[in-house]
Symmetry: C2
Subunit: 306 residues, 2 copies
């Protein structure tokens, strides 16, 4: 039997990379033959964490073989997963997203909790198994929580995430606010990315009932700087709509300091965004005050209006 591959979603964020590495550590401690891998390039925020800890980035894979044993972290929807996932044997899932059309022919280990990030669940798994959480492990978990909750400010952040982050802060021996802000800021340095790269940075293909959508998010310290590139962003979005035959492409440009988003929407189903938020798109764009979480503030409300 070959190694079980562990990976997060396409266009991996810090939680997807850290949770894959944490799951690898967890499984190896239990004696399993596993390898954490990744489904896309490492973003600058995650790079900051890997550099900080001196950890090597996981190997990139493009697809899996028929019958390959895999463990999914931080996602479950096949459209967000590796190529050929339909023919893999999924042995385990650890996730914090909605479940949508997930399918196996045999029983498996599946653990999802409505928490701020997957690494918080990994923390609970370590504790339940009485596994040691060392300084490096604590910073890995903490980085994923900070990333997914935008330093505890996102509505996805739960009391449990905050409580666990407090415990991790003690083990890590770092100042979370300082470290977190540095880490988030490292992720907003996007000046050298092309528009194509920007819209793929944190993009998820999601079925909103029958509406095939792509919902991408870019974190920034200044919406207006990002909006200067609106024309090239729209061109890249249009190409993706054609390639993937999307009904709608939603790009959230999220101000991580002020906790607001500017949205750019293209595609024949753009009206679902207007209906969902009671806004009129002007020149394909609208300002959504207080909206920062795709999972909690975008996907459910768009699904209701699709």
């Amino acid at each position: 039997m070959s190694k079980i591959l562990i990976f997060g979603h396409k266009n991996p964020d810090t939680d997807s990379i850290m949770s894959a590495l944490l799951m690898e550590k967890f499984d190896k401690n239990l004696g399993f033959d596993v390898e954490a891998v990744r489904l896309g390039s490492i973003n600058k925020e995650t790079k900051y964490v890997l550099n900080y800890l001196g950890i090597k980035e996981p190997r990139l894979i493009e697809k899996v073989e028929d019958g390959a044993e895999v463990c999914l972290v931080d996602h479950n929807e096949f459209a967000q997963s590796v190529e050929n996932i339909e023919n893999a044997k999924i042995t385990a899932v650890v996730d914090h997203h909605r479940i949508c059309g997930f399918k196996t022919s045999e029983p498996l280990y599946y653990r999802a909790e409505p928490l701020g990030c997957t690494a918080t669940i990994m923390y609970k798994k370590f504790i339940e198994e009485d596994m040691e959480i060392d300084k490096t492990t604590a910073i890995m978990m903490l980085s994923a929580i900070i990333s997914d909750t935008l330093l505890f400010k996102s509505p996805t952040c739960t009391e449990e995430d905050k409580k666990i982050a407090k415990k991790l802060e003690e083990i890590a021996g770092i100042n979370v606010s300082e470290y977190g802000l540095e880490m988030l800021k490292a992720g907003t340095d996007l000046s050298d990315l092309t528009a194509e790269e920007l819209i793929k940075l944190d993009a998820k293909e999601i079925m909103l009932n029958d509406v095939k959508s792509q919902i991408a998010q870019v974190n920034t310290a200044s919406i207006s700087v990002m909006m200067e590139r609106k024309d090239e962003l729209e061109k890249a979005m249009k190409n993706t709509i054609d390639e993937r035959e999307l009904d709608v492409f939603v790009l959230l440009i999220t101000d991580i300091i002020e906790s607001n988003s500017q949205v750019i929407v293209l595609g024949k189903k753009s009206d679902i965004v207007e209906k969902a938020y009671g806004v009129i798109l002007q020149d394909n764009t609208a300002f959504l005050p207080g909206i920062v979480s795709r999972k909690k503030q975008v996907v459910p409300i768009l699904t209701q209006n699709a």
Copy 2:
């Protein structure tokens, strides 16, 4: 906000009833407003357990309101769940089956493990929360394990189920073999049931890829006694095929002493059973030595051949 309803699958077995009651106890201990209910009549085996412990059977429900908050135990497929489940808000699932087409628009608590029964997972949840497992609770858990694993003989039974059953046996202070055999035998007293009732006793509607199937199981101490009723069973199966527009109806008559099954198969897709087991159905029936688990030895192999 009204009560969260907790229930197992339609045609409930001992694990579905016990796990709903265990989850109710667990959630109430944590201060939640919940009620265990059931989606069908209580079978004789489960009745034996309820009588033994002096526990009242949960209330029967037929459907749920739009937006009702529900917790599913021992199942996740909507075809096996309550009427109108599509419009309920599923807050949690605890299960040990394959996941097939499960769908929510928001994140939820989902815990599945490939163990012998749901109550084994409930045991782990009690332990993780440092909740007391008293004698009654232990016998509830033990009864579900015995039922789903046919006294540890089914291939679905894992080392973990056995280990946990040992611990529960100590708390319960009963002889598991004696108690278990009495309990299972109580369930095989089916002489007063009509053929219609027999085929509904433990029936699940399952999509085998695109093949709409019903797979029912009857436990018996004598296959030949049950086969004397073959004609009336087939008549009842045919009616169900017409009513539910099934492609195939598979009835497993399982000898719980010898661990074999006789299968009766009707419907236009009967050939998938022949392909799956390399048998020829004679007069719609075949003997399947060693086959006792629908979940482990029937659903996956039929799916592969559908």
